[in-house]
Symmetry: C2
Subunit: 241 residues, 2 copies
């Protein structure tokens, strides 16, 4: 069950960054779009392809990734409903990475020109999108730190902290219980580890009573200690409030 209006999540998200006038909100909701859905593990966007539209994730999880010559995969970010999957592609012209769905996803596809017009007209929206983009980049930076300088326990713990923070901010979950459909292989590809070692690391976090994770459900048992282990400082998420 989605919102009354499909693009409502956009308004909700952006109004967290800036004050949107009723006028702005109307303009956002008036954007033309077409719905598209994807099955599990589907390619939403392919590296090298030209981008003439932007894809907003409405439902489900998705991630960006790059494949290396040797077949290995590095996941670059995870995305949750309300987030654009490829704002940058619309402007840079070519996708420089792939986007895949985690589970069944619903998206709204907006023609890039319509979005450009909106941004040209509405300074407040422009600022909101700008902030969104910068936060994205900030998360990338933190991920460099995560894979570059933390050991496996810290990497996984940090990633979990980030996801929990973002999901809860998005209104998901309660009592620390969250839908968390990522496979261990995906967690591995996001943290630069192998699936096997990710498995052992998760077990270690479970053994220490920090989390519960099974069947696509995550429960954080000891938030404070998980942050401690993951060296998690949420400044980089730039979440006001």
């Amino acid at each position: 069950m989605l919102d009354v209006h499909d693009l409502a999540p956009l308004v909700r998200r952006w109004s967290k960054h800036v004050d949107l006038a009723p006028d702005d909100e109307d303009a956002i909701l008036a954007l033309p779009f077409t719905r598209r859905s994807f099955g599990k593990d589907a390619y939403v966007i392919r590296e090298g392809h030209e981008a003439v539209e932007c894809t907003l994730l409405l439902k489900g999880f998705a991630f960006r990734q790059k494949l290396l010559r040797d077949g290995s995969r590095q996941i670059i970010s995870f995305h949750i409903p309300g987030e654009f999957l490829d704002l940058q592609n619309g402007i840079l012209g070519v996708a420089d990475h792939n986007v895949q769905s985690v589970n069944r996803c619903e998206t709204a596809v907006v023609p890039r020109a319509a979005l450009a017009d909106l941004l040209a007209d509405k300074p407040a929206i422009r600022l909101a999108v700008w902030i969104d983009t910068l936060i994205d980049a900030s998360i990338f930076r933190e991920w460099i730190v995560n894979v570059g300088r933390r050991d496996s326990r810290a990497r996984i713990a940090h990633l979990l902290c980030e996801m929990v923070t973002r999901l809860e901010r998005n209104g998901a979950g309660s009592d620390g219980i969250l839908d968390f459909p990522l496979t261990q292989e995906q967690l591995a590809d996001a943290t630069g580890l192998t699936a096997v070692h990710t498995n052992r690391t998760l077990q270690s976090l479970r053994r220490d009573g920090l989390i519960q994770l099974s069947n696509g459900i995550l429960r954080v048992l000891d938030r404070k200690e998980l942050r401690e282990v993951g060296d998690f400082e949420e400044l980089y998420l730039h979440q006001k409030l």
Copy 2:
């Protein structure tokens, strides 16, 4: 010896992304700014500090980094003359990472409000800055891949390829000889390796006849093979031409 006008590098850089009208160029050159210089290894921007100005690098090398609780450091990007060191901070308000100089640096500090006005007035400049920001983010993504999924040889080779490409595009170097003042410790912190292992890795690249690197001077001897080793595909730099 810098340009006739200090901000000329900005015009040069941005006009590679979009067509700037004479009007636009004038507006850029009319930006108010103050010069500031830094010695080797100085802090240009500190994490957590509020940002009321934006710093443009005119001369020298700089890098962004984050420090971890255990004292280790991860370098997030390197910067060469003509690049802004903290465009995002001006908008997000707080610096979420540190910026340090590599060697003696000259910068131009522009009040954030002046820059905001410029962007509000000039759509072409706005687009150029937007593209700059997105390319930055694209480089961050590639760095995640680099530290996440490549072995030490590939990491170093990839980083060298990137720097050479960016420097040459910036007009530095000739005959494949470049000023390259980064220490092995900095290369290590950028690739998520230790200084010791970076040293051995560089030796291996030298032994194979791919590069020459000493006394702050880099010479690429076998460009093709270095790219091969580093799994370097420059699409992510989004450099037209």
